[in-house]
Structure formats: C-alpha cells, structure tokens
C-alpha cells in the first residue's frame, strides 16, 4: 500500500519483527489502522497477536521495524509514551478497584487535587468531571464499582482510557464472559464512540463478532500477516477461519439422525427441583443425547447445571438414573460419585490449578480412582494421564509442564480431560469453547460427539448460538428460572432460539 495522507491512518506498523532469543514471535508485520474505525485482530493462540499488541502499546520494543502514529514515527518504546500519544491497552481483566466509586475509578490515580501540601482530593471537581465524562453512558459516578455489571465494568475501562486522552484503544477480548445481550450493548457503545472519532483495535476469537463490528481486519498466523481486509464486507466467516488456521476448517455438524441406537440405560430424570433462581418440575435426558440450554443470565440455564453438580444447593427435588433415586448433590464430590461432571465456563476462576502440572490437573477430580488407601498409585495415575493427554491431543512437551504456562485452548482441553477422567455419565459443559480458537473448538465438538456415541449424556450451556445449532439434539429455553420452551431436530434455528431466549433479534 502506498503512503497516503497522514490523516487517513491513526497508526501504522512497518515490518515489525520481534525475536525472543531464537524464536521469531513476529515476522515483518505491517498493519494499517484507519482513523475512526474498528480494526479486528484475529489469530490463533500463539499466532503473534499478543506480541503485536505489546509492541503497539509500548510494553516491549521491536527487534526491527517502526511504528508511526498519526503520520509521525514513534521514537522509543514505552507505555507512558504511547499513552501520551493516545494509545491505550484495555485488557480482558477489568482493572477496577471494586471498593471505590465509578468516579474514583474513572480518574484512578489522576484525581483532581486541592491546593496545599496535603494533596487532598477535590471531591467536588472529581464529581463534576465524572458527571460530564459519563453523560449519556448510563453509568452513575456515585455507584460503588463493585455493583456494576460485567458490561458496565468494561465500559468503565474504556471510558477511563478515553478520559486519559485515548484516541486508539486496544480491546483484548472485551466480550469474554459477556452474555449475548451485553455483547450487543457493548458493540452499540463502541459504535457510538467510533462515530465520535475514536479508533479501536478489537481482538476476538469469534468470526461472528469480527464480522459484526469491525470495519477492517488483520489476520496473523505463525507470527506473520496472513491476510488483511480493508473492507470487512468482502469476506465471510469460512474464509476468515481459513485465513486464521491456514487451511479449510471443516465445521462440525452433529448427525442427529443416527444416535438413538443404544438403550443400555434409561438416562436421567429430574423431578421437582427447587434451588436458588431455578425451579424445574420435570426434565429428562436420554443416554447419548446432547441438550443445549439457552437463556439470559439469571434465567436458570446456568443455575440448573450448577444445581445438578452441587454448586447451587438444591432445597428440594430428586434425580432418577438407572432405577436409582437420589437427592441433589450438595457438593461436587457427591456429583462426581454419581457420574455427573461439570466443566466451568471460567477456567481461571474455578477450572484449573495453574501451579500444578497438566498431569496433576487431569487426575484432580478422579484421585480416588488412582489411589488406594489415600496413597496415589503412580502407575495407575500415569495411565489415566497418558490416556487423556493423548486423546485430547494436548500440545505440551510433557504432562509434567505447569498448566498455567499453556495457551487457553490447551488449558481448556486439560480441564475437559479432568472431568472426562471421572468417567461421567452426565456431562455438563458451560460455555465449553469460549475463548479458544477455531481449530480447537471444532476438535472439542468432535470429541464430545464421539463420547455421546458411547452413551454419555451431555448438557451444553452456551451463548454461542452457532455452536448450539451445530451440536445439540434439543434446545431448552430458560426464562425466569423455568424451562419455557423446547426445540428439537429441524426446529433448532438460530433466530428462533434468539427470539425465545433473549426476546430480541441480533442486529447485524
């Protein structure tokens, strides 16, 4: 691309190279971000997105290459300097002091100060500034930050960067852990800021999101620029996936016709469940069936899954399986003992122990199976670990590597391995493919599908409707703590689920 006017691009990189000892993390990458646009940045874990972003935001210096901001070459690489220019990195984890007010957070560390030696905070000026800055955003400056919803916290982070003079904001997976409705809300907010002249770099694993909100997109693969689309409308989801992993990813579609051919067990029946935020009179799932749960947060979809697993304590109700009747599990240990396993939607919070090895994580939920009298049988453990390490094709040198050092997709595979090692008969998956890249996602779908062929019943709680439509046999829509509606077979349709569960159609 020839050099055009200085005003057209807010930030350009020219042949950026980053080497770590002998590893080339970024190999001659040039990207061009136009003013007042949302520029998507796509790539598998380890493709170089993180490195590129650390260079743009000044966290590290490139080995070779230059960056120009608004037509001027950036001299020296430093976070402070890039922020002074207006480049801000807004990370996944909202950096918010929960105990302080929205206004305090907005000006964190830069509070207006009264004259004098004591540097007392000028509360009045602080409030006045905050009120002005938050006008029309729906955020109340007086609210304690801890009471904010997930989407409001992300908005606050963005506003803070803008308030500090941000012109180009780098959003690192801002939609992680957001519901569909919140995602749309955040996108609307980004669009309105774009209209006011703010530029964004938007990082996401979801093609749908990139296509829905971005104006342009750059795709990285193996540290190189695999493709750059100046006009997002010229590309579709399949060709985007192909750019990301460098080959055609065959999308997985479950074959719904050929499943009901094993009747070894009668499946599971839930009756009269009453637990916080959920009341279900009757629910059954057959062996080998995959049932999808959809609903707004608090609708009961997630709570139902947690109740089955003992993390949302049931007050009433029972489960029947293989002619045996039990009360609801009161602790995950009980659930595992009865063949019910749950994979968390937030692996960092309650899915994995980063300080322990892959092997120790895999057997963490099935220690009773690999031990005798409380002493671990090393060879039995090794066998279990090898089985799931190989079966799930975890990418690591050995299973003794600390789990915390793996990429997100591989961590998720290990978490899946941990629950599968308990040999469950009913598996509850909560957003199983959130934040993992396309290749691994399809792999996970295939593994789950294969397990159901052996009689495993699966509940999938997901807000990824694409995943829902391709994977499940039946969809339960949760509204107000109850199952409101069900779809089966050919009736499973994105728009119908969206309408029923969220009451609104996605604006594209």
């Amino acid at each position: 691309m020839a050099d055009s006017s200085n005003t057209e691009y807010i930030l350009r990189t020219h042949n950026l190279v980053k080497r770590y000892k002998n590893v080339v993390a970024l190999d001659h990458v040039s990207i061009n971000i136009r003013r007042s646009t949302i520029h998507g940045l796509l790539g598998e874990n380890g493709a170089g997105k993180s490195t590129l972003v650390s260079l743009i935001s000044g966290l590290t210096a490139p080995t070779e290459g230059t960056i120009t901001f608004a037509g001027e070459q950036v001299q020296g690489f430093d976070v402070k300097q890039m922020e002074a220019l207006g480049v801000f990195l807004v990370t996944q984890e909202p950096m918010i002091v929960e105990s302080m007010s929205v206004a305090d957070n907005l000006m964190l560390g830069h509070w207006p100060v009264k004259r004098g030696l004591m540097r007392r905070v000028d509360q009045r000026a602080l409030m006045a500034n905050a009120v002005a800055a938050l006008e029309g955003t729906g955020l109340d400056p007086r609210m304690p930050a801890r009471t904010l919803s997930a989407v409001a916290k992300r908005k606050l982070n963005i506003l803070r960067a803008l308030h500090s003079g941000g012109k180009l904001l780098i959003l690192d997976e801002p939609t992680a852990a957001l519901t569909l409705a919140d995602r749309e809300h955040l996108f609307g907010f980004m669009r309105s800021l774009k209209a006011q002249g703010v530029s964004f770099v938007f990082i996401s694993h979801y093609n749908e999101e990139i296509l829905g909100i971005c104006d342009a997109v750059s795709v990285l693969r193996n540290g190189r620029l695999a493709g750059e689309m100046d006009d997002i409308s010229s590309i579709n989801s399949d060709s985007l996936s192909e750019l990301v992993i460098g080959r055609d990813v065959p999308l997985f579609y479950r074959d719904r016709a050929t499943r009901h051919d094993h009747a070894t067990s009668e499946g599971w029946q839930v009756e009269g469940l009453v637990a916080p935020n959920i009341a279900v009179d009757n629910f059954t799932i057959a062996p080998g069936e995959i049932v999808g749960f959809a609903g707004l947060p608090g609708s009961g979809a997630k709570e139902f899954g947690l109740s089955l697993f003992g993390l949302n304590r049931a007050k009433q109700g029972h489960i029947t399986h293989d002619n045996q009747r039990y009360g609801f599990a009161q602790h995950p240990e009980d659930a595992f003992a009865r063949g019910i396993a749950y994979l968390s939607d937030d692996r960092h919070r309650d899915g994995l122990v980063g300080l322990q090895s892959i092997a120790q994580n895999i057997t963490l939920s099935s220690l009773s199976k690999v031990s005798r009298g409380g002493v671990i049988d090393a060879s039995a453990e090794k066998q279990v670990v090898k089985r799931y390490f190989d079966h799930l094709r975890v990418k690591a040198v050995t299973p003794n590597v600390l789990l915390g050092t793996l990429s997100g997709g591989n961590q998720q595979k290990v978490c899946l391995g941990r629950v599968l090692a308990t040999e469950p008969k009913l598996l509850i998956l909560d957003e199983p493919t959130r934040g993992i890249d396309v290749g691994v996602k399809e792999e996970v779908h295939r593994i789950i599908d294969a397990l159901t062929r052996e009689g495993l019943s699966v509940i999938v709680i997901t807000s990824d409707l694409d995943e829902m439509v391709r994977m499940v046999d039946r969809v339960c829509i949760f509204v107000g703590g109850q199952i409101e509606q069900e779809f089966t077979g050919a009736d499973i349709d994105k728009d119908a689920i969206l309408q029923a569960a969220f009451g609104t159609a996605l604006a594209h």
């Binding site: 380890g46 972003v53 122990v353 980063g354 990418k395």
Partner: protein, 346 residues
C-alpha cells in the same frame, strides 16, 4: 498472583515454540540452558547453606567437628518441627501464628499432668500433644466454618495461649519432670542424640504426604486455587481443617521435645521461635500464597537458619551483634528467594 492477561511482557520461548516449526532445535537448546539456571535457583538454599558452612568453618574450625554437627541437628529439631507445622497452613494459603505459643502451652499441660497429678509421662505427654492438636483443630474450624481470617484469628489464639501459659505456670518455671519425660531430649546412642530422629521421621512423613497421597495433592490444589479445587470435588474446608489439625499436632510434638531437651518449661516457653519458624519454610520455597513448596526445601530452610544461629554463636561474634548479623543473613536468603520466584515464574 497469576497474571491472567494474554499479554505477558516477555512471552516465554516455550509458549511460542509450537507455532514456528523451523527453529525447533534452537528452542530446545534455550530450554536446556534455562533449565540449568533454573536448577541453580531451585537449589539456591543448599548453595547458600554450603557457602555459610564453609565460611563459619574457616572462621572457626570447630564448626567442622562431629560434635558441632550433632549440635546443629539437635538445634534444628524443634525449629524443624515448627517449620513443618507452619508449612501446612501456608500450603493451603492460610497462616497459623499460634504454633509457637501452642508449643509452650501444650507442653506445660503435659508436664503439669505428669508433675502435679503424678501421672506417668506415658499419659502426660500424649495429653499435652492432644491438647495442641485440639487447638489446631479449633483454629481450622474458626477459619473454615466461621470464615475468620486466619492471620488475625490465630494471632488472637496466640495471645490467649501465651496468657494461659503464664496463668498455669503462675510465672514459675516447671522443671521437676521425671526421667522418663526428659529421656527423649537427653539420651544419646554412641554420642548421637536421639531427638533429631523425631524430626527426621516427621520430615519423611511430610514428604510422603505431599508427594504420594491424595491429601497432599488436595493441599496443593486447595492452596493453588481453592475454587477450582472445590469444583474438582475436593472438600476444601475439610482439607484446611486437616492442615490446621496436623499443624497443631506437630506443634505439640515440638513442645514436648523442647521441654524434654531444656528439662524446663518457662512461663514464656516457645516465644521467639515463631518468626524463625515462618522464615524457614519460606526460604525453602514454600509460598505464602499457597500451593507451592516441598519437604526438601523446608529442610534446607531449617538447616540454613540453624547454621546461621549456631555459626554466629561459635565464631566469637560479640553477642551484641549476633542478632543483627543473623537478621541480615536471613534477609539475604529471602531476597535471593524472591529473585528465584520472579525468575521461575517469568
């Protein structure tokens, strides 16, 4: 503690390795050299220990004698048991500040049962250790069931126990223990004291517990990520209670040994041990944030502190300087450990 951002300032070569197929061989080489430095850092306690032994030995050749080695082992026994006692709650990301006062108080209970009630030490000693265990169990209950913050809860218990010791002893020293009671602290077999055997057994037991048992795995998981451990089916509260209870048990054993060795229980018995008992495992690689550490490291930390203590005592350093120099040496050990942790987690 665990950075969750996808943007590490310095992505490690091992993370980047799978994506670029060509430079596979150099990556392996980098990893090997990094492992070398890592090994050095992992074992820094032992290197530091060896260096100090040489220095003290040069300053006073007596340091190299067998009888000094025996002295070091005896001195390390009580500190070592307490260090193990501190490590268990640390492992699950809690802390127990009451162990040293528990040691003094429970020993007094055991001794009083023997001396004033005239019962056999075979009854008195278990009674004392049982009291210590019960106090540990109580701490565990407070921290889990009542969700009290262990730092403050055990601090309060510490003060209560110090006060109780003063009350039971009425400010006097208990010193009329029968021979059977003090046997363990005074007996030698071919000049070798018997007492360190207890520490050795406890240390081996701890190593076995941590490395080979379900409970050990559960301790690490609970300290590493309590929510994840709970979701993985581990009874986190139960594991914490067990950690505190075992901690109390070890404090009780340490208390008995200290009394048997000193042949006396003062009204402030055990005071002064606490901070060293906390420092030793941390120097040896036990993390105050939970989920990290092992028996070998704890042994290293204990020996290091004991060598500093004994070494300064015999090298004719004027007594007014001993504590200061000891403190500086410990400071260096902790600083080196911090560098190690930063290096390893990078």
């Amino acid at each position: 503690m665990q950075p969750r951002s996808e943007f590490p300032a310095h992505p490690s070569p091992s993370n980047a390795a799978p994506m670029s197929p060509q430079p596979a061989a150099p990556v392996a080489a980098t990893r090997r050299s990094k492992t070398g430095v890592q090994w050095l850092f992992q074992n820094v306690v032992w290197l530091w220990l060896a260096a100090l032994i040489v220095i003290f030995g040069v300053l006073n050749p007596f340091f190299f004698t067998l009888s000094n080695l025996q002295n070091v082992l005896v001195q390390a026994t009580v500190l070592g048991l307490l260090a193990l006692a501190v490590s268990l709650p640390l492992m699950v990301a809690e802390i127990d500040l009451s162990i040293a006062s528990n040691m003094g108080f429970s020993a007094a209970i055991g001794a009083i049962v023997t001396t004033r009630l005239g019962l056999s030490p075979a009854i008195g000693v278990p009674v004392g250790i049982a009291a210590a265990t019960a106090i540990g169990f109580f701490n565990g209950l407070c921290v889990t069931r009542l969700r009290m913050v262990s730092l403050i809860q055990t601090l309060a218990v510490m003060i209560v126990l110090q006060g109780s010791l003063l009350a039971v002893t009425q400010g006097n020293t208990i010193s009329d223990m029968p021979n059977l009671y003090i046997w363990i602290g005074q007996t030698t077999i071919g000049n070798w004291p018997v007492m360190p055997v207890v520490f050795l057994v406890a240390l081996l037991g701890m190593g076995f517990l941590l490395r080979k048992t379900v409970l050990g795995r559960s301790l690490y998981a609970t300290g590493g990520n309590a929510l994840a451990a709970n979701s993985a089916g581990i009874r986190v509260n139960r594991v914490k209670i067990i950690a505190f209870t075992l901690s109390g048990l070890l404090s009780g054993v340490a208390g008995y040994l200290l009394a048997a060795w000193q042949m006396a229980i003062t009204s402030d018995q055990g005071e002064g041990f606490l901070l060293y008992a906390i420092a030793a495992p941390i120097i040896g690689g036990v993390s105050v944030f939970g989920g990290r550490g092992g028996a070998a490291g704890i042994l290293g930390g204990v020996l290091l502190l004991t060598v500093i203590h004994v070494g300064l005592a015999i090298t004719e350093v004027p007594s007014f300087y001993v504590q200061m120099i000891g403190g500086i040496l410990i400071f260096i050990a902790v600083a080196v450990d911090a560098i190690r942790v930063n290096f390893v987690s990078q």
